[in-house]
């Protein structure tokens, strides 16, 4: 079922919001203009509320001793154990085959952010 969440102007790049649909808490994040993702607001590891954690970038893989920061506005980080997940795929950064965040399709329609749950 589709639900209208809010106007696209209400969530800017780098920001996050929580909505509750069908009794489920859902975290909505904005990577860039028009690029919005939605995930279940519950870490697949031990169930921590992901909205209490951060949404920004991370240190990307590199050679030993080198630190490169990147993937700004792509990574959701759990407030408890620090697990990092890709907002668009739900996959864990440490291992794509480990437990994923549940994701929901989101798109823009007539300036409205629409989610399918």
């Amino acid at each position: 079922m589709k639900h209208r969440l809010f106007n696209r102007d209400e969530l800017k790049p780098g920001e996050k919001k929580v909505v509750v649909l069908n009794n489920k808490s859902i975290l909505v994040v904005c990577k860039s203009e028009g690029e919005i993702y939605a995930v279940r607001n519950k870490c697949p590891h031990q169930g921590a509320p992901l909205d209490k954690g951060s949404f920004n970038g991370t240190v990307v893989c590199s050679i030993a001793g080198e630190y490169k920061y990147g993937r700004e506005n792509e990574i959701i980080r759990c407030p408890w154990h620090g697990f990092e997940f890709e907002a668009n795929t739900g996959c864990a950064v440490h291992d794509k085959n480990d437990k994923k965040m549940k994701t929901y399709p989101v798109y823009i329609e007539d300036e409205n952010v629409i989610i399918e749950v």
Binding site: M1, K2, H3, R4, L5, F6, K17, V18, V19, V20, L21, N23, K24, S25, L27, N41, K42, H45, Q46, G47, A48, P49, D51, K52, G53, S54, R77, P79, W80, H81, G82, I114
Partner: protein, 365 residues
């Protein structure tokens, strides 16, 4: 069909745990360093209030998670550390998870000091008074740990006698450092603990070291992953120095060192005992038997391998009373009682770990 939706505040949707739990590792914190001065006499009070004393030993690492050493959502938000606010702890832990008893372990460990041990002994005593007045007396669900400065063992024994009879005190807290607690110089501590009907709990500390390079490897992930080394060392030290032969009523609870290494250590110790027994003739039982009968381990931080393999590790310990559940609230590697235990653990085993084992060990009514 599209519906309009109001943006709402998120809410933790975990179902309430009906099973009451006993949490054996909860970290109450001082609101700030100078607060301890309230419980110190002179000259120590001025050492805290009038100098640039920066507190006890720190780790040489940045704990680089978003909340540092703390769960992000456990911070009170006013600059005080997570774990310093009773109301928040009550809400996020005691009431949230139906905690029947929470054993306080603090994080203020004078035994990590390398000098000025008289000051350390005074700090330990002051901390016990703080713990009693501002935590134990606030909520009967709390149980306490007697803190000491282990580097003055005779005075530590005196401190255990001083506060050990408080009805909510259940154990003596020994921070794990680069010194072996089995050494006879520490035995007055065990004697006093047994005399007062208290157990011993060992917790990792900023002075817990690993095997290489002055004890602190290059990265925090290395240090944190290697903590079991130090726990293994202490278990071996206590067993081989005959602590439990001298003090047969004593039990030792291992906090935050994990437990999956226990079977392998038992095997190796037993193997060596068969050849080398005459070096430690006071050890009259197989080391594995001593470990099973006198040690317990907190589950946190519980690893999450294949659940079948985790069950096998627990079965290899050979004592279903061995494990005690801990959350380690309010730290970043907190374990949730609803979701952290493997699915392969039976309802009975979970109940033992979450509640029965600690209740029996500590004699809670």
């Amino acid at each position: 069909m599209t519906t309009n939706t109001q943006v709402q505040n998120s809410k933790n949707e975990k179902a309430n745990v009906k099973q009451p739990i006993i949490d054996v590792d909860v970290h109450e914190m001082l609101p700030n360093l100078k607060h301890i001065a309230k419980y110190l006499d002179q000259p120590w009070k001025r050492w805290v209030t009038d100098t640039l004393w920066g507190g006890l030993r720190q780790l040489p690492y940045v704990q680089h998670l978003d909340g540092g050493v703390e769960r992000v959502d456990a911070k009170p938000g006013d600059g005080r550390p997570a774990g310093s606010d009773y109301v928040l702890m009550k809400q996020q832990l005691l009431d949230e998870y139906n905690v029947e008893h929470a054993i306080l372990t603090g994080l203020f460990y004078p035994s990590t000091m390398r000098a000025q041990f008289e000051f350390g002994t005074a700090l330990a005593s002051a901390y016990n008074d703080y713990q009693i007045k501002e935590w134990l007396e606030k909520d009967s669900r709390f149980k306490g740990s007697v803190h000491i400065n282990c580097h003055e063992p005779e005075k530590a024994a005196y401190e255990i006698d001083r506060v050990g009879q408080h009805p909510q005190m259940v154990q003596v807290l020994l921070p794990i450092g680069d010194f072996a607690y089995g050494d006879p110089r520490f035995h007055p501590i065990f004697e006093a603990a047994q005399r007062n009907g208290l157990h011993i709990a060992m917790h990792q500390s900023t002075r817990t070291t690993t095997a290489l390079d002055n004890g602190y490897p290059r990265y925090f992930i290395e240090w944190h992953s290697l903590l079991p080394q130090a726990f293994m060392s202490q278990v071996v030290s206590l067993v081989c120095n005959g602590v439990f032969e001298k003090f047969p009523n004593l039990k030792c609870i291992l906090l935050e060192g994990g437990f999956v290494w226990i079977p392998a250590l038992m095997w190796r110790l037993d193997h060596n005992y068969k050849s080398l027994r005459r070096e430690v003739p006071w050890l009259k039982r197989m080391p594995s038997q001593v470990i099973r009968e006198h040690f317990h381990a907190a589950t946190q931080p519980i690893e999450q391998p294949d659940p079948k393999e985790m069950l096998q590790m627990v079965e290899m310990i050979g004592n279903d009373k061995f494990l005690l559940f801990a959350t380690d609230y309010p730290h970043w590697d907190f374990d949730d009682p609803n979701t952290s235990l493997p699915t392969t653990f039976s309802k009975e085993l979970k109940r033992k770990i979450l509640y029965d084992n600690a209740k029996e060990l500590y004699g809670f009514k």
